[in-house]
Symmetry: C2
Subunit: 238 residues, 2 copies
DNA sequence: TAGATTGTTAATCGATTAACAATC
DNA sequence: TAGATTGTTAATCGATTAACAATC
C-alpha cells in the first residue's frame, strides 16, 4: 500500500473535497460553496424569464420554480450586495447580468476538453454552453486513431500538444472525460497547459496543487445514493 | 408569472433540494446526505483495492487516496455499525461487500433511460455500471426517427410504451437525458412507469411527489462554480 | 398612505473535526 | 505486553431558517 505524503494530503484537503474552503464576496467575506452552486440555478431561471420577456421576479417565485427557499435566495444574494427593491422584487435582466458577472460568465470563458470518447462527444454537442458564455475551444485525446479526426466542429488534437495549443488559446478551464485510469494524466496535462479549474467526470480522485480547483461529476455516485433511497418511502438522505 | 401551488412547493421541499431530509441507518438514526455520497467514493476505492488483492486498509489510507478525512470515514461508517478492527483496520472485501449492501448495490438494479441523444448514448456506453451492479435495461425516446433503431446493444423504444415495458422490467430507477424543455415530461413518464428514483441530467427543475427521489447532475452548474473560482488564488468556495 | 417584499439579524439546525477510551 | 487503530463522544464550525425592521 502506498501511504499519502503530507504534501498530497495537503493538496487534497485544500481543494474542493472538504467543503472547508470558502469563496470571497466582493466585500471580502467568505461565500459558502452551496451559495455558489445555487447562483447558477438562479441564473438558469433568470435566463428563462428574460427570454420570456418577464421584467420583475420576487423571491417567492424563485422558490416556486427552483425549490430553493426565498430566504435562502435572499441570503445568497446578500453576500454580493443589494439586488432588489422592497415591495417590488428584482429586475430580471439586471439580476441576470449581475449574477453572470459574479460567476465571471459575463465574458467568454474557454474550456479545454480531454477525452474524445462518447462522453466527450456529448459534452461538445451540448447546446447549453453558449448561453453561459462557455466555449469548448479544443479537444484532446491520446488515441492515434482519433487524433486528426473531427469531433463535431472541432479537430481532435494530440494530448502531447496541449501545452503548445493552450499557449495560443489561454483557456482557464478544463474537463476530463477519459477512463478513470487516465484521469490523473489528463489532469496533469491540463495543469501543465495552464488550466486553473478542472471538472472531472472520471470516477477517480484527482491530485493537484492547491492553486488548481477541481470539481467532480460522478453520475455513478449519484445513482448509488438514489439506490440507497429506493425502498424508503420518505425521509431518505438525497 | 405563475405562482407555485402549496402542493408543488411541498413536493419540491420534501425532496433532495433542501438537504433537510435524512436517510435512516439500519439502527433507525438519520444518515446525513453527504455521508451517503461519500459511501460511494469509499466503495470505488475498495473495489480498486479488492482487485489489487489488498487485504486490509486503514482509515488513514482512505484519507490519503480519497481526500476524505480518516475521522470522517470512521464517522460515516458508524451510522451503520462496526466495520473494522482496532489496531488492524478494515478487511477490504468485507467492507466492500457491506457498503455495497448498504447502498443496495449487492443486487442488480435496473435503470430506465429517457433520451437517446449524445448524452444518452454516452451513458449506455459507460463501462462502469456493471461494477456497481447497475444496468440500463431500456432506452426511450419520443423521436420517431430514433425509435426502433439500436443504441449499442439496446433498441430505442417509444416513450409512449414506457409503462407497458416497465410492467415487465420493474426497474426502480430512471435517468433523464433529454433537453430541458422535455425533462418534466420524461420525469412524468418514468414516474407513471413506477420508477421511484430519478437522476436528471437536464438543466431544469423536476417536479415530483415527495415519494419520488430526484437528484440532479448539472455539469454547466459545476462549470459555473469553477468559473467563479478562476482568478482566486486560494480560498475559493469549491 | 397601505401593502408588499427586501436585506439582515439572531436562532436553529446539522455536519465536521478532534480527542481519546476501548480493543485488537 | 506495547503499539496501532478503531468507534464514539463532545466541541467546533458552518449553513439554513425564521422573523422583522427598513423601504419601495
Amino acid at each position: 500500500m502506498t501511504r499519502a505524503t503530507d504534501e498530497w494530503k495537503q493538496a487534497l484537503a485544500s481543494r474542493c473535497l472538504s467543503g472547508r474552503d470558502m469563496g470571497r464576496s466582493s466585500e471580502g467575506g467568505a461565500v459558502p460553496t452551496p451559495t455558489l452552486e445555487r447562483l447558477s440555478t438562479y441564473l438558469r431561471y433568470l435566463l428563462e424569464l428574460d427570454q420570456l420577456g418577464v421584467e420583475t421576479v420576487r423571491s417567492a417565485e424563485i422558490e416556486a420554480h427552483t425549490g430553493i427557499s426565498a430566504a435562502q435566495f435572499r441570503k445568497d444574494l446578500s453576500y454580493f450586495g443589494e439586488f432588489g427593491k422592497p415591495g417590488i422584487g428584482y429586475y430580471v435582466s439586471d439580476l441576470r447580468r449581475r449574477i453572470a458577472t459574479i460567476l465571471k460568465l459575463d465574458r467568454e470563458q474557454l474550456v479545454l476538453l480531454v477525452g474524445a470518447g462518447n462522453l466527450g462527444s456529448a459534452l461538445v454537442a451540448f447546446p447549453g454552453w453558449e448561453q453561459y458564455r462557455l466555449r469548448i475551444a479544443a479537444v484532446f485525446d491520446n488515441n492515434v486513431a482519433k487524433i486528426g479526426r473531427p469531433l463535431w466542429d472541432l479537430e481532435i488534437l494530440d494530448i502531447e500538444h496541449i501545452v503548445a495549443v493552450n499557449r495560443e488559446l489561454r483557456a482557464g478551464m478544463g474537463m476530463i472525460a477519459v477512463p478513470a485510469a487516465s484521469a490523473q494524466a489528463a489532469a496533469d496535462g491540463l495543469i501543465r497547459a495552464g488550466v486553473r479549474a478542472i471538472l472531472n467526470f472520471a470516477p477517480a480522485t484527482i491530485r493537484a496543487e492547491p492553486t488548481v480547483w477541481v470539481r467532480n461529476v460522478s453520475f455513478i455516485q449519484e445513482m448509488a445514493v438514489l439506490s440507497y433511497c429506493l425502498g424508503s418511502d420518505g425521509g431518505c438522505g438525497c
